[in-house]
């Protein structure tokens, strides 16, 4: 009887472990000096908020180890969830958002994409401040496996040098 209960608890424990063992894990980040950068978010009421990298990290922070189309070796990316930023600014209900990069690149991301795939707004790479010369200082990253399995995520979703987020018209 005891053996059976132990086995059941063990199975439940494994199952619970699988539920929480996603590629993106919550992480506590030590303070560091970031490269000068800012992400401006235009809230649903039109109010603009300018987040420095350090201010972005006031949101819950996460860690993700993955490859990208430009990095063959798995790299540790750290930052905050795009969904948290959107929720804070009332943009989580928008059908789509428009993201603009420092180099004037623009892309539209649908709510379906944001709801189906976790997008990490990366501020650190391998524990160091993200650099503009390696597609930072603020970059959108999706876990490679989730990226490959999503019909909505494309390379356009992995925005480099992200500078501005607003609701798409």
């Amino acid at each position: 009887m005891n053996l059976k209960i132990t086995a059941m608890l063990f199975t439940l424990g494994l199952f619970a472990g699988q539920l929480h063992a996603g590629p993106i894990k919550q992480a506590t980040l030590p303070p560091i000096e970031h490269e000068q950068a800012a992400l401006t978010v235009v809230a649903s009421d039109g109010v603009e908020t300018r987040y420095s990298a350090a201010e972005l990290e006031m949101f819950p922070t996460y860690s993700l180890t993955t490859t990208t189309p430009w990095r063959d070796e798995p790299t540790v990316f750290e930052g905050v969830l795009l969904s948290d930023i959107l929720e804070k600014n009332g943009l989580n209900g928008s059908p789509s958002i428009l993201v603009t990069a420092e180099n004037d690149y623009q892309t539209t991301m649908s709510k379906d994409l944001i709801d189906s795939v976790q997008i990490l707004v990366v501020t650190r790479v391998d524990g160091k401040a993200h650099s503009r010369r390696v597609r930072g200082p603020i970059q959108f990253i999706i876990d490679a496996e989730a990226f490959a399995g999503s019909s909505l995520a494309t390379e356009a979703s992995l925005v480099w040098m992200a500078a501005r987020i607003e609701a798409a018209e």
């Binding site: 430009w70 420092e102 180099n103 004037d104 503009r132 010369r133 597609r135 040098m161």
Partner: protein, 374 residues
């Protein structure tokens, strides 16, 4: 049996070969191969077209245009500093940012070229971009000393970069034309493959229909032969009324049931003479005529008529009433004595009838004129 023509015979043998188990499995195999081949080919074509499109539009052309924009951004910042006479802190930040953006663009451009056939033009453009980045990095590391000279060098390099990138984009346009031509070729090839597959499927489908038709015809022929065989077992082929076998079965049934009935025997008078003088067709017509008379009478009297053989017929009537039997016999004699048509004219016959009721110890016989015998 008429031998089939040689081509038809060969075709029949071909159908026989297809209709065998091996033939059917082979046909199904060919069908599956056609479908799989067609699907695989179409999939490979779609993948190839998608790949060409992405490579051309995203990885080549867009990067050429954006690289020109990134160079221009750096030049503009330097121009602003020259105009202002000083590299202010905000301008210095913008300059560094612009240099970083150009650095990433050049690297991205280089990464896209890795493993691909690099053209001289693309390498030249990349080399110029690298030169601009190196100049920008030197300027930053020198804390923006001698901005005027830097600006002049930037203008010169940006002009060279623009020239190289325009040539690169022109080459991309030529490659785009080639891709379009390749796509058209693929579509033409695809059209041929689709037509070939449709022809193959039509051939297999036609073969299947022919086999089906043959099977249906053969089954129908077998059914007709079986029905004919069954008919001949119990019916007389000439008069189409029951034959002696069925008569014997029927008689046994009546006897076993214990029901009262009467047996009437009919014999044609001088039938041989009809055959001899009028021919066998007249004889056959006479027998058919008698058969029809007896069959009608059997239906009207709930009886059973049969041809026993030659010119002998029998009639079972489920009654033993002598008056009724006599009337029935007279009716038969009356009908039989009338002229009837046959193919060469008219005939009149006579026959003799004898009846035997089961419950009476009496038999009677009637004869139409001229007299016959029982």
């Amino acid at each position: 049996m008429i031998p089939p023509s040689s081509s038809k015979f060969r075709f029949q043998r071909f159908l026989d070969a297809i209709a065998s188990r091996l033939g059917i499995y082979s046909a199904i195999g060919v069908l599956i191969l056609i479908c799989v081949g067609m699907g695989t080919y179409l999939q490979s074509v779609v993948i190839e077209l998608d790949k060409s499109l992405v490579e051309f539009e995203d990885q080549q052309v867009r990067n050429g245009y954006v690289a020109m924009s990134d160079v221009q951004r750096l030049v503009l910042v330097a121009h602003q500093a020259v105009n202002a006479g000083v590299m202010s802190k905000p301008l210095a930040t913008e300059f560094r940012t612009a240099a970083d953006i150009l650095y990433v663009r050049a690297n991205h451009f280089r990464q896209l070229s890795e493993g691909k056939e690099n053209s001289f033009i693309k390498n030249s453009a990349l080399a110029t971009l690298d030169e601009i980045v190196a100049l920008a990095d030197d300027t930053v590391s020198n804390d923006f000393q001698d901005c005027d000279l830097v600006f002049k060098k930037l203008i010169s390099l940006s002009s060279k970069a623009r020239e190289n990138l325009v040539q690169f984009l022109d080459e991309m346009r030529r490659q785009a034309d080639l891709i379009t031509e390749q796509q058209a070729g693929v579509m033409r090839h695809q059209q041929f493959v689709v037509l070939a597959n449709l022809a193959g499927l039509t051939l297999v489908g036609s073969g299947a229909l022919l086999l089906l038709r043959r099977e249906v015809l053969e089954r129908r022929g077998r059914e007709i032969a079986e029905r004919r065989s069954e008919f001949l077992a119990y019916f007389d082929s000439l008069t189409e009324i029951p034959n002696r076998i069925q008569f014997q079965d029927k008689l046994a049934e009546y006897i076993q049931s214990g029901a009262h009935f009467a047996l009437i025997f009919i014999d044609l008078d001088e039938f041989k003479q009809i055959n001899d003088t009028k021919g066998h067709s007249a004889g056959d017509a006479t027998l058919k005529h008698v058969g029809r008379i007896l069959q009608d009478a059997a239906e009207n009297n709930f009886g059973f008529a049969a041809r026993l053989g030659g010119d002998e017929f029998a009639f079972i009537v489920p009654t033993v009433d002598l008056v009724s039997l006599e009337n029935l016999c007279k009716e038969l004699l009356d009908k039989g004595s009338r002229y009837f048509d046959y193919e060469k004219g008219q005939l009149k016959l006579s026959f003799s009838i004898g009846d035997l009721p089961t419950s009476k110890s009496r038999a009677c016989c009637l004869t139409s004129a001229p007299a016959g015998q029982i």
